[in-house]
């Protein structure tokens, strides 16, 4: 606890009945560069705004140096923010923008002059003091915004997607400069971004968020090499995510082959998810000594490496990155080393819903009545569990054709099929395995055959 400058404990927040943050806890050490990473709408900016004090948490608390800061208004918090669209005051020039905080503290004029000059030098913007902020380029405005925050020597600097509005080249340059500033100043940075590469480049620690929940906390290497669930694996970097089965400790089966791995403690004969990074699959022309073989389907030059898609003899598609190109159509031998296989516990193996019996041939779940076989002896109104396998849910092009309407919320390619998360209009979730191609945001009708619904008393 001693060197935790910020401690977030059980933070929850709802907007208009919708939970945007759900029991968030993490800490930030003195001098650390922590990144909150997640897709848009995951709640990362809400966390930052709560630390800054612009919104107050519904539940939980934020400790700064061990003290709860809930009652401290934003203007008294020793934190400063770099805003997403900079929020430089258009009626003030560069000097007055940067001096804004110092003037409020009534610091002597020569002190302000000295500090402004120093911080302008730090962000390589000397000689811009008298410039109108609106006459500056995006990158320059960004630098002024950083200078305006840093000049107050905050205990923690909060950065809300500060580079999102810059073009790629400028973003890369600014990333390096930010990292250097962080090392030079020793100020704690909390950085919000949706750009996984930026997070991997800059951070000491990454907090991966999705839908208001923490998915994983770890160093960039941890997050990349050992993703804890399929969301993290899919969101950070490229990956092959496959269904597998843990045969026993250190032995896992996937794509129809048995592999040695380094994971233990999952139990015997347990379904798991397996993640293999495309650069971790060794590809060669001879099939001798290979663990399995495949046919090259496509090969694209990506600058440093070639990106290839291969299809194994039993129909699984894998993405592979290698410095050498392999001819499309050729048969190649493939090897995956035990330490490159990341095994993850499956979050679920089957759709399970709470339902109630309507009559001897209908059960109500997800807000609809479904025809199915109801085990004998169950009265109408009885509470039951309903199970539907992932691959037994049929998705239809038109919402009105299904018993239920939903939207494709998240999708994963699993080598030979897609695993989709469907959000219904009532905000219920169901998971579907399908060979059809859907996109995120597609509106679908959901239909389930009577024989595929298993009712458990």
């Amino acid at each position: 606890m001693a060197n935790h400058i910020i401690d977030i404990q059980n933070l929850s927040k709802s907007f208009g009945g919708k939970k945007v943050l759900d029991n968030i806890s993490f800490y930030v050490r003195q001098g650390e560069f922590v990144t909150l990473l997640g897709p848009s709408g995951c709640g990362k900016t809400t966390i930052l705004r709560q630390i800054a004090g612009f919104i107050s948490p519904d539940e939980g608390c934020i400790l700064l140096d061990g003290n709860d800061i809930a009652q401290i208004p934003p203007y008294q918090r020793p934190l400063n923010t770099v805003f997403q669209r900079y929020a430089l005051f258009p009626h003030l020039d560069v000097y007055d923008n940067i001096a804004f905080g110092l003037k409020l503290k009534k610091e002597p004029q020569e002190e302000i002059d000295k500090k402004v000059r120093k911080v302008l030098k730090l962000v390589s913007m000397s000689d811009y003091e008298d410039r109108d902020v609106e006459s500056l380029s995006g990158g320059q405005q960004q630098r002024v915004a950083i200078a305006r925050a840093l000049v107050n020597q905050p205990k923690v600097l909060l950065l809300d997607e500060p580079l999102a509005a810059l073009d790629l080249k400028m973003r890369k340059d600014m990333q390096i400069e930010l990292k250097e500033m962080h090392e030079k100043l020793g100020i704690t940075f909390i950085y919000v971004t949706h750009d996984q590469e930026e997070a991997l480049t800059l951070s000491d620690t990454i907090v991966v968020l999705n839908e208001g929940k923490i998915q994983q906390i770890g160093t960039p290497a941890d997050i990349y090499n050992e993703p804890q669930n399929s969301f993290v694996a899919d969101f950070i970097g490229e990956s092959n995510i496959l269904n597998g089965r843990m045969i026993c400790d250190r032995k896992v089966e996937f794509i129809g082959h048995e592999f040695n791995c380094v994971d233990e403690g999952f139990g015997d004969d347990v379904p798991v998810d397996v993640v293999i990074r495309p650069e971790d699959i060794y590809i060669m022309n001879q099939t001798e000594g290979a663990q399995f073989t495949a046919k090259v389907k496509s090969c694209t030059f990506k600058g440093v490496h070639y990106e290839m898609y291969v299809e194994t003899e039993n129909g699984f598609e894998l993405q592979i990155q290698d410095y050498n190109a392999f001819a499309v159509g050729s048969t190649v031998g493939l090897v995956i080393k035990p330490q490159d296989i990341q095994v993850m516990k499956k979050e679920r193996v089957c759709n399970t819903f709470d339902g109630t019996v309507v009559d001897d041939s209908h059960v109500c779940f997800l807000g609809e009545d479904f025809e199915c076989r109801v085990p004998a002896g169950l009265q109408s109104g009885a509470e039951v569990k309903v199970q539907v396998p992932f691959d037994k849910i049929e998705l239809l092009d038109y919402q009105e054709d299904g018993a239920l309407a939903g939207e494709v919320h998240f999708l994963l390619y699993k080598g030979d099929h897609y695993h989709l998360e469907i959000k219904t209009d009532d905000d219920d979730r169901l998971w579907v395995d399908t060979n059809d191609i859907w996109d995120k945001g597609d509106l679908v009708g959901i239909s389930i055959a009577a024989d595929d619904i298993k009712v458990i008393a």
Binding site: P74, Y75, Q76, F83, A87, H91, F100, G101, A149
Partner: protein, 260 residues
């Protein structure tokens, strides 16, 4: 073959309209102001005004009343506009309509009704009632442009100021007020200019006890002193012109102020 009509010729009707209803009257005012009854050039109308103590006093009073009215409207209107934009204080769009609503009713009718109310309550008509009537009539013209500008200010500016250590009071004076300057300027112009030239309000709400510059112009024109009346109108135009120039100097922001 017919020649296609060039797009610029579409504005011809407007040019004609402006020429007849704006430019020509201005020229006529200028012509009458600088000529005597026989159409000969003279400055006599102006010298007459500057030598006439009563007219000068009325002129000074008009400016005074206009400044007072503008100041009161600003003091009352700014907080109202601010409250209307503040989402915590004002949750409904109806409130703004309520403030704008009086603008839909003819000003003369409102003024007559106000005068009746004063008479009913036995309040003596005078400068107080005059200012009351003016503020009542012109307040929406102050509120609306300020409200418009305040509404367009990105809330992140206020957040940034607060983040840098400004108390809400300081945020207001150091960020909100400076950023709403275009709206304030529009409001001042829209209140000050018509008050200088008003005559109906002073006639009804003071029973003609207090005469404003507009009243004098009206009287001169009624008395067929067209040349003198035109000269007075000309002077008023100059005054309005000067105020416009003074309030308009950060012209690039002006558009945002939105003259409704």
């Amino acid at each position: 073959m017919m020649k296609p009509i060039h797009r610029s010729s579409w504005c011809l009707p407007y040019v004609v309209f402006m020429a007849i209803f704006v430019v020509l009257p201005l020229i006529l005012i200028g012509f009458y102001a600088f000529s005597d009854g026989n159409g000969h050039f003279t400055l006599a109308n102006f010298t007459k005004f500057f030598q006439d103590k009563d007219s000068l006093a009325t002129f000074a009073l008009s400016i005074e009343v206009a400044i007072e009215n503008t100041a009161i409207c600003l003091l009352l209107g700014y907080p109202v506009a601010w409250i209307l934009t503040n989402k915590k204080l004002n949750k409904s769009a109806v409130t703004i309509i309520l403030f704008i609503l009086p603008m839909w009713v003819n000003a003369l009718m409102r003024t007559l009704a106000t005068a009746e109310l004063f008479t009913m309550f036995g309040i003596t008509l005078g400068k107080g009632t005059l200012l009351y009537g003016m503020v009542y009539d012109y307040l929406p013209f102050m509120i609306y442009p300020i409200y418009n500008t305040l509404q367009k200010i990105d809330p992140s500016y206020a957040e940034a100021a607060e983040d840098l250590g400004a108390t809400p009071w300081r945020v207001f004076w150091k960020v909100t007020v400076p950023l709403s300057k275009p709206g304030i300027m529009s409001g001042i112009m829209m209140v000050f200019m018509p008050t200088v030239s008003t005559f109906a309000i002073s006639e009804f709400l003071t029973n003609n006890k207090i005469k404003l510059f507009g009243t004098i112009i009206q009287e001169k024109i009624y008395a067929s002193m067209w040349n003198y009346g035109a000269a007075l109108a000309f002077i008023m135009l100059i005054i309005i012109g000067i105020t416009t120039l003074l309030t308009n100097n950060d012209s690039d922001n002006q558009v945002e102020g939105g003259l409704i």
